[in-house]
């Protein structure tokens, strides 16, 4: 990666420089209003080549899956097939307007209808909405449906949502947005949710539980059927955080386990790119008793064509138009590429890779829950007696050319390093990563200062986060040249 600092657009700007030529007006000019016009919209002025070189230089200071191994736990940084990018750019998809008459967009509606059906089949659900734009947005959507379900039955008392202490932060944050109170539940010695804690929390104020399965330790919840039984028994619903679906597609259907609602992260399990943080897509699947509450519109087959339907007791829209259609195109192509056997093979190899890394690392790092895991596992990053912490190991990995694992999450493991290799990585890559991790554990003992001051080879070294939060420079102070 490039270590050359890159000037900002403002610094590169030269008055009078232009990047684009637009046609002259081919119509008579209308009279512009005088009062409300602005002098200068404040944008920089660059040539086209300036712009291209600027962003090319910036790309050389960024690391993606295409750059190297990216074992970021819970994020499923798998290979993003290039053909999906090409297909999403087909003009029939990319230039379609979302408000066109439905008989002019039958291809798009067919695509969305099939994707709804396939996701329902993969998850074991009765209905699917594609509208939510991301996983957290799907959680929000699912929880709103749970709330509407209870209210529709005249039950206003259910305001509590049970959430294991190993859950993603989005779970309690989503519960708050829906007006629920998040109740945190402890985990047991095996890394499972504590069944007794669930039992004692279950009463007629419980709207439901949010379960991540496999959980954030990468473990399939051994007591899952007991948990589902307890929550259903007290009148609650079971929400599934589908972030870890890459371990389950073709292996088990959450709907078959009794889950009432779950979001899919198309940008994880179904390979749509993460885009430096987004956009993603977070379709939500529901069991029979929640289908009437889905956001509208849904896509329906009507004879030989496709149309829109509004669920009877819909919670309403959660985004404009149909959601992130460009991601649906990619996910559709991905599912068609794999079929049922391919999806199962993906999950199997994701689990194979994670278990392989666990056994390769367990004598160098503490693995607190050392049993067969699913698509990811957690080890402790602190090296005893050296002062080297998980953060240091993560930063030193950058010098070896690897993106570090998720660190300090889940919160229930001290100095956590959460490793998710995904199925698209080969054995030689995993071996090289394991060698680097073992080498760092050695360095921690022989030269702890080297590890604690890492990274050394990256475009910048450790950055001053305290200064950033104190000074809050959130826009370029350089004047536009």
């Amino acid at each position: 990666m490039s270590r050359n600092a890159t000037p900002t657009l403002n610094e590169l700007s030269v008055p009078g420089r232009r990047g684009v030529d637009l046609p002259k007006p081919d119509v008579p000019k209308a009279k512009l209003p005088t009062a409300d016009l602005r002098e200068d919209c404040g944008l920089p002025e660059l040539s086209q080549l300036d712009v291209v070189r600027h962003y090319l230089a910036l790309s050389q200071r960024n690391f993606g899956v295409d750059s190297g191994f990216y074992p970021l736990g819970s994020c499923t940084m798998k290979y993003n097939p290039k053909i999906n990018e090409e297909i999403a750019r087909i003009p029939a998809f990319a230039e379609a307007h979302p408000l066109q008459d439905l008989d002019t967009v039958q291809g798009n509606l067919a695509l969305m209808f099939e994707l709804q059906q396939w996701l329902a089949e993969i998850g074991g659900f009765a209905g699917v909405t594609l509208q939510p734009a991301a996983g957290a947005h799907g959680e929000f959507t699912g929880l709103l449906m749970m709330r509407a379900y209870h209210h529709a039955r005249g039950d206003q008392r259910r305001t509590r949502i049970l959430i294991p202490n190993s859950a993603h932060g989005t779970n309690p944050a989503s519960a708050t947005m829906v007006g629920f109170t998040a109740v945190e539940l402890r985990s047991d010695a095996h890394g499972n949710i504590d069944l007794e804690a669930v039992r004692s929390a279950c009463d007629d104020t419980v709207a439901g539980i949010m379960m991540t399965n496999p959980n954030t330790l990468g473990l399939f919840e051994e007591q899952i059927e007991g948990v589902v039984g307890l929550v259903h028994g007290c009148g609650g619903l079971v929400y599934g955080d589908g972030a870890n679906m890459n371990a389950l597609a073709g292996i088990a259907r959450p709907g078959d386990l009794g889950f009432d609602v779950m979001h899919f992260n198309l940008h994880k399990t179904f390979s749509t790119p993460h885009g430096g943080g987004g956009p993603g897509a977070g379709p939500v699947g529901v069991s029979e008793r929640l289908v009437d509450f889905l956001p509208g519109p849904l896509i329906a087959r009507q004879g030989d064509s496709y149309g829109l339907v509004e669920p009877k007791q819909s919670i309403g829209r959660v985004s404009t138009f149909f959601g992130n259609f460009g991601m649906f195109v990619r996910a559709y192509a991905y599912i068609r590429r794999h079929g049922a056997a391919g999806l199962r093979a993906n999950s199997e190899h994701a689990v194979l890779n994670a278990n392989y890394l666990r056994v390769k690392l367990r004598d160098a790092y503490v693995v607190p829950y050392d049993r067969i895991n699913m698509h990811e596992f957690v080890c402790e990053g602190a090296i005893e007696g050296t002062g080297v912490r998980a953060l240091d190991v993560a930063k030193r990995l950058l010098d070896y050319g690897f993106h570090p694992p998720t660190n300090y999450f889940p919160l229930i493991v001290p100095e956590a390093l959460m490793i998710e290799p995904t199925e698209t990585e080969s054995k030689p890559t995993l071996d090289a990563f394991a060698d680097a991790m073992r080498a760092i554990a050695q360095e921690a003992k022989s030269d702890p200062a080297l590890v604690k001051s890492a990274p050394h080879e990256t475009p910048v070294r450790r950055v001053d986060e305290v200064k950033a939060a104190r000074e809050l420079i959130l826009t370029d102070r350089a004047k536009v040249g």
Binding site: S13, V20, L37, C41, Y55, L58, G64, S67, P81, R89, A96, H97, P98, Q100, D101, T104, Q106, N108, A110, E121, I122, A133, L143, L144, H168, G169, T170, P172, A173, S174, F220, G250, A252, H267, G276, G277, G278, P279, G280, I315, G316, S319, T320, F321, V329, R337, G339, A340, G342, Y356, T424, P455, V460, V463, E465, A469, L472, L474, T475, D476
Partner: protein, 451 residues
């Protein structure tokens, strides 16, 4: 196996290292009752076949050249400079995750920092987040922010009926979990801001307006912020980023929060998404903001560097007490918008805005000459930008069908879908991609279709 690289030999070796005999043995905790379901999906296919299949599927859509489409209503055909897709296709950008490791994410961090900077200049605001999902969800979060500022003491949101109907629908959905309620001004008085400000009282947390509004008309923003602030509420403005190349921004009129959909800034229509939620506010609200923020700082050697900052607002730190649950955003669309803005620059954006203004006015003038048609009948004197309302002699749906089937034109948005009193009204969008010839064809076709 499509993208799984393992050879049989590697797989055996790995299974042996783990200590299990076969792949199926890797799932001992999954209850046998549900393990390995038989999924009813189409059989797998090759990339070659899928590319063909997807093109065939796409061919079931009616595709017209964008110059012959006059449909807008919140999503627009605009010129997209080729550099945008060139940059968006860089794997270093689009295959990366959120910038939690700043040492290897300086490229995206700087790009997002520059995006924030340009968006602040454009809107006249002080702080922009690094993107939200889309315009509607950005507005919904803005409303939640206003309620948060009021700390539970105010539970009323006054919404202009001229805010995009789908945006208003999303706001209503987001408020389901709060005790707040929306008051929508009288739809028959869609152009009267004074009617809206009279609805503001001591219970009101925010006034939400759109300018240019859903009908393309610029609202008279002068003095609105003062009236809203006197009542102790916040002014939230939804805008069109292209219009900001020409018109004074909402920030200059004292808006507290400005949001919009940034799709017009170089993002393909893509049948409605992914688009870009632009979210800006005043520094006074920075700690209540949702979404990522990129800040400038230095590294251990004192060199300029960028990093995600104020993370203590966010869900991965604050959990149930976070300002929002947002995590994934629309970063790569923000990158695209930044490339667009950098390429267009000060004069280019102005040119695009002027072209939209002139061409839409030409179309409006010509359509206004047709017998039985009226342009902006509810507000004939108001300034409009790139969209305008046309009252037709026949229902809009019937006119659109004839435009398409007999002339290959995609007509405007049927306003009767959202406003029952506007059944015979169509919202027509004209941008720089529509040529004079295509506008003339539209005018001719309209006069025929209305017969």
């Amino acid at each position: 196996m499509a993208y799984v690289p393992h050879t049989d030999a590697e797989r055996s070796e790995m299974l042996k290292a783990i200590g299990v005999a076969k792949m199926a043995d890797l799932f001992p905790d999954v209850p046998a009752r549900v393990r390995f379901p038989k999924l009813d999906l189409p059989p797998p296919s090759s990339e070659l076949d899928i590319a063909r299949e997807m093109r065939t599927l796409g061919a079931r859509n009616v595709v017209v050249d964008p110059s012959h489409s006059f449909l807008g209503a919140g999503a627009y055909h605009h010129f997209r400079p080729a550099e945008v897709d060139y940059v968006l296709s860089r794997g270093e950008f689009y295959t990366s995750y959120t910038q939690y490791q700043p040492e290897v994410s300086q490229g995206m961090l700087q790009a997002l920092f520059e995006y924030q900077s340009m968006i602040c200049r454009l809107t006249g605001m002080e702080v922009s987040n690094a993107s939200h999902y889309d315009g509607a969800t950005a507005l919904a979060e803005a409303v939640l922010l206003a309620l948060n500022v009021a700390q539970g003491k105010r539970g009323k949101i006054v919404l202009s009926p001229a805010v995009h109907p789908q945006y208003r629908a999303v706001v209503r959905t987001y408020l389901a979990g709060t005790h707040a309620a929306t008051i929508v001004g009288d739809a028959d008085a869609i152009t009267e801001l004074s009617q809206l400000t009279s609805l503001i009282d001591s219970e009101t947390a925010a006034l939400v307006i759109q300018s240019p509004n859903f009908f393309g008309q610029c609202e008279a923003l002068e003095g609105i912020a003062d009236a809203v602030h006197r009542a102790g509420a916040l002014l939230v403005v939804v805008t069109d980023p292209i219009a900001l190349g020409l018109f004074k921004p909402p920030g200059a009129y004292g808006a507290d929060i400005v949001v919009c959909d940034g799709q017009s800034l170089g993002i393909p229509l893509s049948f409605g998404g992914p688009h870009l939620g632009v979210f800006t506010a005043r520094m006074a609200q920075v700690r209540r903001l949702s979404g990522h923020l990129v800040g400038e700082t230095v590294d251990a050697d004192g060199r300029r560097a960028y990093v995600l900052t104020l993370a203590t607002r966010e869900q991965h730190i604050r959990r149930a007490k976070a300002t929002s649950n947002i995590c994934t955003n629309s970063a790569v669309c923000a990158l695209g918008a930044a490339v667009y803005l950098a390429t267009m620059g000060k004069s280019g954006l102005r040119q695009v805005a002027e072209l939209c203004f002139h061409k839409s006015h030409y179309a409006a003038q010509e359509i206004g000459k047709l017998k039985g048609f009226a342009v902006n009948p509810q507000a004939p004197k108001k300034t409009f930008f790139k969209e305008f309302v046309v009252r037709l002699p026949r229902p809009a749906a019937a006119v659109n069908k004839r435009l398409r089937e007999q002339h290959g034109i995609i007509g405007g948005y049927d306003l009767g879908r959202d406003y029952p009193q506007l059944r015979d009204h169509m919202l027509i969008a004209v941008t720089e991609v529509n040529t004079r010839a295509s506008i003339d064809r539209l005018v001719q076709a309209l006069s025929e279709a209305a017969r």
